[in-house]
Assembly symmetry: C3
Homo-oligomer: 351 residues x 3
């Protein structure tokens, strides 16, 4: 508790913790003020995500390197997972899928690009471990192919057996998890010397608080979207993704400004790969247990295209192992183009 | 004027200048001979394009390095811009778009491939500055994504608000121009040491002559196409693109044969990137001022696919910084495949 | 004959030769037992493919390096060609196309990936000649573009002239053969120093036996598919491709385990490139002579997408010239994803 107070003094983002009880109280006493709930829950999620990310790092640090690395890698996207599970229980599958796709695109374009830009504004030329970047870009590419298949096949759905997409999504989920597991084994065990790792120690964790606030967030986000005139695709893809990744972004940007681009690229591409190969398939499996109906991996074609081009972009800009500010600009402009299209899209188009 | 005569003696292409008055006179006295106008205007545009390109280089050389580089880079595709503006004023938007797409594809495949081939026939193995090539391939990739979005979205147009494509094209045009401007700033200012530059000095400029002849060309090109049995897509993509880039091609090929592949790759990819990130968005903005109606960036899907694969091909063949004659063959065959498909395509298919 | 017996003693696969007469006899005496014919013909094709591949290598070794290399490269996929010709004569164009597409995908994903995996399980880090790999990936990319064009254009077929796809496929076939021929000239003559070659000597050849058994195989494969509940797309893509490439696979895997990854990558990507640039266009030309009707290159969109992503994957995993076991896992999982989708696809979807 003392450590928590120290932490709060050091990190101004944690002052937002005051919004956690406010958001929960507002939800209890005023059911209809959806826009208020939305704003309060965003303000409350941000510090909780920071605390949660510190907590997993601290657990990781205590359990020894190899298991710790596994925990660290797997739990890094717990915020996204908790938000997505809340949406899953509410049966909001369109929001779940949009937020998964959006998290992949936001992490591999915006988080990566802004890291390059912020680092590049301070240093003329930055270098990073391109073998690690290539490994994660490879995982991301695999996931992009996996997410592409159900969408391509679903055009045939009318031709044949019902439930094809369901079976296919289940099989692909197992293949993605298999690749993810073997990838962890590869990077933490057999070839760990190829990967530079960097862990820091922290304290305190309130995942239960995060789960409660996430429910308020998910319950209000669609209403708030309508109020602010944003399409659901834009909300899921951009707003939820940015809120969910706030903690990682803070870490990635601060590392880039300290010329530790290895860490930035690792966080950005690692998060994107994890969501694609771990969070997405786990959500499919969880939907059989806690969801109102099984969920498939079938995204709308535009989302698949964005994931594909985000992966290609990330792969192209990391292939040389060097970066300047303009590489960041290029990557961010691709993201802004996608965001513009999503913002202008009519509300019905993302179904 | 004395310099112009010297120039004419050195460069046989300039003998074609005699067709400038002939083309203008033929247009005035015989309105219906479209095939004749087409042939005469092609013969007249070629030397004018050469003169124009010399002129911009000479202006560039006089105004100092940094501003000169900017002018040189931006005015290098003035021929394409003048032809496209003539088509814009005539309201021939299909021709404008086909010629923009065609110029990107022709420059990044044919001009690049033929440079590799011509250089490779004389030298066993050639090297070039792959950082500069990667920079321009990156810009090209960005533009390909930008041109892909309106086409992908236009399939949703029926679902929602009219004018979506118009708004989107305008927003994307600003983003492309922003990226282009920052790219110039990057390559001419903050990181100019990464880019080898090569400028030569020349004299004389008749942009007005070019503008007049371009109008004859645009007025006759579609009729000539019908006469020769070519589809409008083939004319816009291949014929207009080859005519518009004649001057740059002469420069790129001659540099390749002198083992200065840096210059060839720079001209080919630089021109393609410029047309995609500068000429195309400027035409969209100009259409609000001088066109009969606003123009969007919405190309037909085949054109988008060709731009995408041209970009991928250019990116793959320049990634190693080395070239042999067979790399040129590979690149040219991709171009020939596209040209064959366009030639065989029924006239209605490119709409 | 003595050499053949020695060979049989050394290579247990050749014991399967006993199934050659059995398969032919079964076909003669019992016309309706399709599943039996299928199993027997698979068992008979395997050793024949091994013998055929030894035979072409031995002819190659005898005729001197340059012509021998040409023969070796061109005849390496004779098994696929013989099977495809049998299907062509039977007018089974869907099977022909599926087996061509499947052979490209199987060789560039499964054969390559399993080589990386098997080599990587024994050696921590393996290196190979990445210039040769890039050359073959480039050829493969060219072919992928070539196979993409007819499918993209065929959506316009309803708009215009009939027979467009036929003309286009013929023109593209000539372009692919031209590129293939120039590629051989490049790799065997003008720039042979860039390519490491490895030839071994063997004896004996029964191409006629293979042709006879192939007919039994093609005649029974569709019936067997129905019996086993497999979709025709799965059979053509996966089963025929694996049977047709059995001999090359044995060679590629054994080379990988001996840390001769150059040879493995060369066999895998070389076979894929050959089928795409030599076997496919030759089959189109042959269809005018021996087929019931001209065949085009128009594949179903899913097959084109798989070829494209197989090419991209192969290109990404070979670009660094290094390999570990996990690169093999990544490549194989992409293949398994495709195989899963094909297996689950309803029978009507691949038309």
């Amino acid at each position: 508790m003392k450590l928590l107070l120290q932490e709060i003094r050091r990190n101004p983002l944690l002052w937002l913790l005051v919004f956690v009880p406010i958001a929960l109280a507002a939800e209890k006493f005023n059911h209809e003020a959806h826009t208020l709930h939305f704003v309060l829950s965003v303000l409350a999620i941000l510090p909780l995500a920071v605390l949660l990310s510190h907590a997993t790092e601290s657990v990781a640090a205590k359990t020894g390197d190899s298991v710790g690395g596994l925990l660290n890698a797997t739990l890094g996207n717990l915020t996204e997972l908790v938000i997505a599970i809340a949406a899953l229980q509410a049966g909001q599958y369109t929001l779940v899928k949009a937020s998964v796709a959006g998290a992949i695109v936001t992490n591999s374009l915006f988080m990566l690009g802004a890291s390059f830009l912020l680092g590049g504004l301070r240093y003329h030329l930055q270098e990073f471990n391109r073998i690690a970047a290539r490994f994660q870009a490879g995982l991301l590419f695999l996931a992009a192919v996996g997410l592409l298949i159900p969408s391509a096949v679903s055009e045939h759905e009318t031709l044949g057996k019902a439930g094809l997409n369901q079976e296919l999504s289940l099989a692909l989920s197992f293949l993605l998890l298999l690749a993810y597991g073997l990838g962890l084994w590869f990077s933490l065990n057999t070839h760990r010397e190829l990967f530079a790792s960097a862990a820091e120690e922290h304290e305190a964790a309130w995942p239960i608080g995060l789960a409660l606030v996430s429910e308020v967030f998910v319950g209000s986000v669609q209403f708030a979207a309508t109020t602010f005139g944003m399409s659901p695709a834009f909300v899921g893809f951009i707003i939820v993704a940015l809120v969910g990744a706030a903690a990682e972004m803070a870490a990635a940007f601060s590392a880039a400004q300290k010329n530790r681009l290895d860490l930035s690229v690792g966080i950005a591409l690692g998060s994107a790969a994890q969501i694609a190969l771990f969070v997405a398939p786990v959500l499919v499996l969880l939907s059989y247990v806690i969801g109102p109906a099984p969920m498939d991996l079938n995204l709308w074609p535009g989302a698949v295209a964005m994931i594909l081009f985000a992966t290609l972009t990330a792969s192209l800009v990391t292939t040389s192992g060097r970066s300047t500010w303009f590489v960041g600009v290029l990557t961010i402009v691709v993201y802004l183009m996608f965001a513009t299209a999503l913002y202008l899209l009519p509300p019905a188009a993302n179904k």
